[in-house]
Symmetry: C2
Subunit: 467 residues, 2 copies
Amino acid sequence: MSNIDLVLEEVDEKLDLSVRKLLELISIPSISSEVSGKAGIDQAAAWLERELLEIGFSTTVVQTQGHPVVLARSTERPRSDSLRLLFYGHYDVQPVAPLDEWGHDPFAPKVIEEDGVHRFYGRGASDSKSQLWSFIQALRAWKSVNGSFPAEIVIMLEGEEETGSPNLPEFLERYRHELQCDVAFICDSDMWSPTQPAITTQLKGLVHEKVTIHAPNADLHSGHYGAVCANPIRILSSILAAIHDEQGRVTFDGFYDAVMDIPESQRTQWRSITDAADIADGVSFEGGLVEQGYSPIEAMWGRPTVDINGIGGGNQGPGERSVLPGSATARLTFRLVADQDPEMIRDRFRAFVRSRVPPGCRVEFEGSGGSAAVRLSESNPFLKAAARGLEAEWQSPTVLKGTGGAIPLVGQLSDGLGVDCVVIGFILSSDAIHAPNEHYDVERLQRGTRSWVRILQEVLNERAAVQ
Amino acid sequence: MSNIDLVLEEVDEKLDLSVRKLLELISIPSISSEVSGKAGIDQAAAWLERELLEIGFSTTVVQTQGHPVVLARSTERPRSDSLRLLFYGHYDVQPVAPLDEWGHDPFAPKVIEEDGVHRFYGRGASDSKSQLWSFIQALRAWKSVNGSFPAEIVIMLEGEEETGSPNLPEFLERYRHELQCDVAFICDSDMWSPTQPAITTQLKGLVHEKVTIHAPNADLHSGHYGAVCANPIRILSSILAAIHDEQGRVTFDGFYDAVMDIPESQRTQWRSITDAADIADGVSFEGGLVEQGYSPIEAMWGRPTVDINGIGGGNQGPGERSVLPGSATARLTFRLVADQDPEMIRDRFRAFVRSRVPPGCRVEFEGSGGSAAVRLSESNPFLKAAARGLEAEWQSPTVLKGTGGAIPLVGQLSDGLGVDCVVIGFILSSDAIHAPNEHYDVERLQRGTRSWVRILQEVLNERAAVQ
């Protein structure tokens, strides 16, 4: 039996224990965007630190202005020619609301069999606790069989990914030296399909904006004043309705200024790997406002978009209430493509809103996030090695894909620290991430962990071939 | 000292006790629109029954499909020629949200002095517990001085006014005989100003609608699917934005079909009693969308309107969440003028919404309320008597006014039972009804109670003059 087969066997043999521990981690409510999530964040960071120590890493929980980063390093003395690999994951999770739409307690996961799949439901089950756990378990198995890690290893586990990583730039600057590496594996992305692996080579930028329209008055009786006083919900609705034209194009000045149209070569490549049915995966596009002139996949991966994520104002029930509210709030995200400047887009949007606020009313903005889009080289040798590793495990070609999602870290690592990033993950769109009933399964945890073992082997092979 | 002076003196002497009891009533959280308000509703009904019994009424708490009606009758054997007077009030209150905007506990009122006024804050303080308490205390004082009530009295206290009186029609039909009277005093309306009394002779109709747009999918990750899938918030915003044109006119088909324009005589009368500053009372009209061609008061009293009372969907914080929500909901009210049919308006609105829902999406409606507008005769002798009573107390002419508000009962009593209604109240627009920090004051409770004593006297005088 070759060395790699022994490591894969170790992964399989310890699967039950791996699942048990993962469920422990998922049961910790590490919601980064809620004040009440702070205890869960700290508990999850401490739990991960303990596990990484046990495997043989030297660990630190690095405090930031927000939530901590768990940083782990292999302690073996590196050979002068040794590889240095960085693994990134995040242990924070999305909020769980609306709780009444969950069929399972989001923080009490257990394995249940559904249609032959051993599934577990929980917030963070897929995004992203199973992702980080997969590479940690692969490294554990490797060391257990070989007595040492395959290379110098740095693990970085973030606690603020779901809130736009506000303190990441400062952390990266502070730990600039420790984070230098030959390649960084960013483990927070999708497979192509349940049977086909993928590496994500294009990521969008991300800007969050919260907009509140204040009327000149506090809440009023709508029967008395509805006919004459400003209604912030009506004003906000008009603004939101004006963001897109009937062709699905964003109307505000400057939004497309820096945008290069999708190159024909890119269009051809995307057409070769997919059609709309592939990316839909059970999701209906009916009633969607796709930008005219673009296929769904081109719109998702290659065109900038504005989405309304939430709205609230006045009476939300349960009963009726004749109120003319004093304010109304919407939350939006801007998903950017290469060359769009996040702060410029934010400014232009704010100018657009301000120009539509009637006299006497007031608009309040609150912004967060602000990352630019990233395009990663597809010719990087470590990316090719990773693709081979994935193919070996899944017996299916690795798709090099784009995404509508954003991982602010990738731009900051590649642009700021000059580190090559390879973005890999085993999430499926059917996992209900960011939604009620998020789930993952034992089979994918196993094959994800095995994938990392094979990727490590291919990375070593690649290095050996070069030297 | 004349008889009426003795009754007024009795009101003044017992004011402290009257206030103490009223604060007890306000402290009961009788919120009709919330399931958790049921205990408060029952407690308030029982409290009122006890008080009315003590004053010498025969009382019943009439159960309905919803909340009970407290019904009280004078027990003295009526003379064959005796007057029969109905008094109406409601003991249910609006919800208190947003609670954090209250400077006072909404259900723990106490009297505090502010700028020489003895004010008390609480939900229902003005709308409408002080209103019903004023006539109850006037009747109490009258009986205490004279040994009997001034006429045959029926008191009807409703527990569902704030939810559109869904069970009122059935109640009125069932108690048709008991509710017959010479005149009904409906005590749930405004003064003209802090120093000038008013009787409301025009009331608008009211229709409530709740609209939910469902996308074909449940919540999705907005980064992945925002560019291609239906966004219910965007769809709902577009629909809400399309309800009014730039002239402030309602755009949907049929809305103005039955509407007679405001007669020139009416316009002249309204102009003679008011300008915008009078009705504004500290409320700013800036940024409001007043229907073009109409003054603020004409729009409020004489033109039908559509108001958005609430909206909700997707992430409402506190943190950011990249969600493309599965649904979004808005609540609207339609305020109707004479000859508009509530159910026809509801149907037309629904047709308008349906025509704007994209394929694959679904709209769900939930409607309540449904009362037509009412115009009461200004030549009714009891109305004239009431106006004289108010003038005697306030030393200022009584304004005969319209309102943007609706009291479904009025139409049902006048049209259904053929009873003449006189709509009187002592609410001020500065009382913050339906809003945080609702309040009332001891001085108005006193003068309101005294007003009722004087109205009773004038009603008796009127009857004596006729006979």
